[in-house]
Structure formats: structure tokens, C-alpha cells
């Protein structure tokens, strides 16, 4: 199964002080272990939310909100995509992850949905549109 593993933000990641050379090194070793075990598909880090924007929806209105955003613990600082056999395996891997932040922090594992998960909700029209979008995304 494919999972997205989310590193949640902290005050340090939000103010840009979370990057320490020794942490990069430890995380590099962990990533290498993930690669050698055939688990890691892709990974990326995000910049602090001060560089982000939010768009709030309500009925017809669209309101743009500039970052930074307040609820730090709900923000994402980075992510991996892993291929694992089950959630137990994903949890076991996360357990051995070095501390991703200098202070207390959290990592969240979310199984990725496949088209099959939405099959019942999709009308033929919705499927067509979805296929069209994926086709455009697929231009390598």
C-alpha cells in the first residue's frame, strides 16, 4: 500500500530555525535506509507557511489569506511517499525516524486513496473529466 507520511510543522520549522546540520545528516541516513529497503518513492520539504497563501471558500466568495498561519501543529513541513506492506510496517519505520524537529513534533501517516475508493461516487461524466485531467498531468 502507498502511504503519505507527513512531518507536521513546529514553531522552529515555521520560523526557519529547524534546520540543523546534524539533523540533516541523521535524516539523510534514515532516508538512505528507506531507499535501501525499497520503501521510499519520493520525498519533499515545504517552506514555512509565511510563504504560503490560503483561499477560504464559502458559497460564491473566495477570500485569499496570506501566511503565516496560526495553528502551527496542523501545518505540514514536509512529506514522504512510501510503498509498504501495511500500516504496521509504516509505523515501525516512522518509529525509527530521527527527531524531525529540534523540539517536540509529530509525524502523521495517511494511506493514499486510489480511484477505486471513489468509484461509487463518480458519475460517467466525472470519470471522463477526471481521465482528461490525468491525461494532461501525464505529459512527461
Amino acid at each position: 500500500m502507498r502511504v503519505m507520511v507527513l512531518v507536521k510543522a513546529t514553531d522552529e520549522s515555521e520560523n526557519g530555525s529547524s534546520n540543523r546540520p546534524e539533523m540533516f545528516e541523521a535524516m539523510g541516513r534514515f532516508n538512505e535506509e528507506l531507499v535501501n529497503a525499497g520503501v521510499l518513492l519520493t520525498a519533499d520539504g515545504l517552506t514555512p507557511s509565511s510563504k504560503g497563501k490560503r483561499i477560504a471558500f464559502e458559497g460564491a466568495s473566495r477570500t485569499v489569506i496570506d501566511g503565516p498561519f496560526a495553528e502551527t501543529r496542523e501545518l505540514v513541513a514536509g512529506f514522504w511517499i512510501w510503498e509498504v506492506k501495511d500500516m504496521d510496517e509504516a509505523v515501525a519505520w516512522v518509529r525509527r525516524c530521527p527527531n524531525p524537529m529540534p523540539g517536540p513534533s509529530e509525524i502523521e501517516i495517511r494511506p493514499m486513496a486510489t480511484m477505486d475508493d471513489f468509484q461509487e461516487m463518480l458519475t460517467p461524466e466525472a470519470k471522463d473529466i477526471n481521465d482528461r485531467i490525468n491525461g494532461k498531468l501525464g505529459a512527461a
Binding site: 529497503a37 525499497g38 504496521d88 509505523v91 501525464g138
Partner: protein, 425 residues
Amino acid sequence: MTASETHSAGETNRAIEATFRLERARLIAGLARMVRDIDRAEELAQDALVIALSEWPRTGVPANPGAWLMTTAKRRAIDAIRRDGMRIRKHEEIARELDGAAEAIETSMNEDLGDELLGLIFTACHPILSADARAALALRVIGGLTTEEIARAFLSNEPAIAQRIVRAKKTIGNAGLAFEAPRGAERAARLSSVLEVVYLIFNEGYVATAGDDLVRPSLCQEAQRLGRMLAGMMPQDAEVFGLLALMEIQASRLSARVGPDGALVPLSEQNRTRWDQLLIRRGLDALARAEALGGATADGCGPFALQAALAACHARARRWADTDWPRIAALYDRLRVVTPSPVVDLNRAIAHSMAFGPEAGLALVDEIADAAALRDYAPLPAARGDFLFRAGRLAEARCEFEAAARLTRNAREAAFLLARADACG
């Protein structure tokens, strides 16, 4: 014990077992190198798990669980070897050997584990074993599949697979293999024996996806995982990345190549929007790496890198009509040099017909029409019929389609070919 305590003890055991699963292959690798016996290595690893299950709930999970498990298992191995050594001391030679082994074990405690895992992979995939035996053993000791899972995956029965694995282990033991990754001149030959098995496992799953059996596609994932592991551990081998690229790109089509009725959907008809773009990207990256390492260059053509390059041509085409046929034809020209086979030649003829017109295809297919391997091979007259049809030679095309329909054992395909024959008027 209250219900919540039971629950949490169960949770703890599950967590310990999950941790063990991450370490299992490396444990077996390290232990097998020490005791030169895969069976014994599996037992020792299992013993270490049992000890962990009894100790960790009390002491907490150690900071480095892998090292803890390895040390625990190796201590037990040393104890056993010493014990056995006492018992059979009268056999001087064996005793000396065992003492040496015990020493070697203690010094090897801190050795690089990744290297040991590679050694186990090379040993489990040693050419002295049949390809089927290699596949079963690799799935067992590296992939951690149970005998029952392997049997289901290969549509075999459990005793047969169990026996295949036992025999393979015995063959390895009798040959006195060292559980090391070979170096130098031997490495290339041994590596192709490994890659062949990984691709065999992949194909076993890939070919089966036409059925409704959900177990077998997981073989693709096992093979991909093995391929990814090899790429992680052998970052300088072009063919490792060639194979990985080929598997990632082929796997990207898994959900598009089976229709709602369970029938295979040919490449030309597949809904390309269903292709897994993450796998395609990974495949193209791996191919680029293989090419940078010399895998698909004019001199260093590796068969896997070339096949991956072919698969990539399709992956890059957003629609069937966008396919870069001249490039595919050129790649087949090279593939037939590296892996000469009448089937490759036939595919080459088809590629040339798509790139340069039906006459080009006809000329090439006539060169191979007498090959023994293609006698009674339905795709040959089917391809010839297609070339003739496109060249406007309808009467001849009709004969070929009818011949192909008679040769195929697949009813759906026969119906398709007869329909094409009818279309010739």
C-alpha cells in the same frame, strides 16, 4: 489482566513484530554468513524475535533494535557452536574450524549489514539453483513471504514450494557458498542471475493480472521492492537501474491493462490517464540513471536498459498516435543484437512497419518467417496480415488473419482475428 491491558500487550507484540519484519532479511543475511546455513539463520532470527517479545515489553524497545536482535541471535549462535564443538571435539579438524568460526563471528559483529544483505541476495539467486528455486528462496528470505503466500502466488501447492525451498537451501549448503556479494569478473554473470529472478517474479505477477486473483499482482510489488533495494545497494550498476526502470514503467500500467471484464487491454487501447504517473516518473529517472551509467549506450547496451527505453517510449506518449515509432524501431535494432530472439525480431518488424510503412515490416518479417521458434506462433501471421492489410493486399491479408485465428488458443483473440479477416472483404 483487564481488557485494556490485553489490548495493549497485543499492540506491543504487533509493534515488536513489525520492527522485526524490517530487520528480518538483514538478520538472516548476517546470521547466514556466520553459520553458512540459511535454515539455521532463520531459526536464530526467530529465536531473537521470541526473546525480544519477552524482554522488550519490560525494558522498552532498544535504541537500535536491529543491532540488538543481531547481537542476541549471534550470541546464541556462538553458544551453540561452542556447545557442539565440545561434543565433537574428537574430530580435530571440525573443532578447529568451529573455533575459527566463533572467532570470526565475534569480529564480524560490527560489519556492514547492507553488504551482508547483498551477499544473501546473491546467494539465494545463485546460478547453481534453478530460476524457480531462486525465485521462491528470494521471496522467502528477502521478501519475508510465507511458504503459503509463495505457493498461492505461483499457483502451486505449499508442500511443493516448501520442498523447493528446502532443496535450494541444501544445494547452497552442499556447495559451501560464502554468502558474499561477488566481486570482479564473476560479478557481472552473477548479477544477471539475480536480475533474471527479480524480473521472473515481476512477470509472474504481471502476466497474471488478467485474472481475478488479487494475490499475484502483489508479486509485482515484491519484485519492485527487490529492484528498489538492489538500486539502493548497487548505485553503480546500469542494469540494476535498467531493470528497475522497466518494472516501474510496466507496473505504471497495471490498472489500465485489465478491462472491466477482466480481459487484457492492448497498449493501443489503454486509457493512459490510468497510468500511474509517480511510477512513470520513477521509471524515467531510473532509466536516465541507467543511461548515465552506460546501460543503453551504443557500446554498453544492457537488455534491461534497452527494454526500459522501449517501455519509456510508450510512457512518454500521451496518446497511442503520439508514439515515437522511429525511436522504438531503432531500439529494437539494438535489442536484437544484445538478446537475439525470433520474438524480438517479430516485434522489431512491427515497430519498423509503424515507423516506415507496411512494406518495411513485410521485408523484415519475411526474413524470419522460417524460424523454428515462430512456427505455429499466431502473432507472426497476425502481424503479417496487418502489414498486408495496410499495404492494400487484402486477399493475402485475409489468409494470414485466418491462419493466425487457427493458431491461437485464446478464443477472444481468435474472434478478433476472424473479424479482421472479414474486414478484408
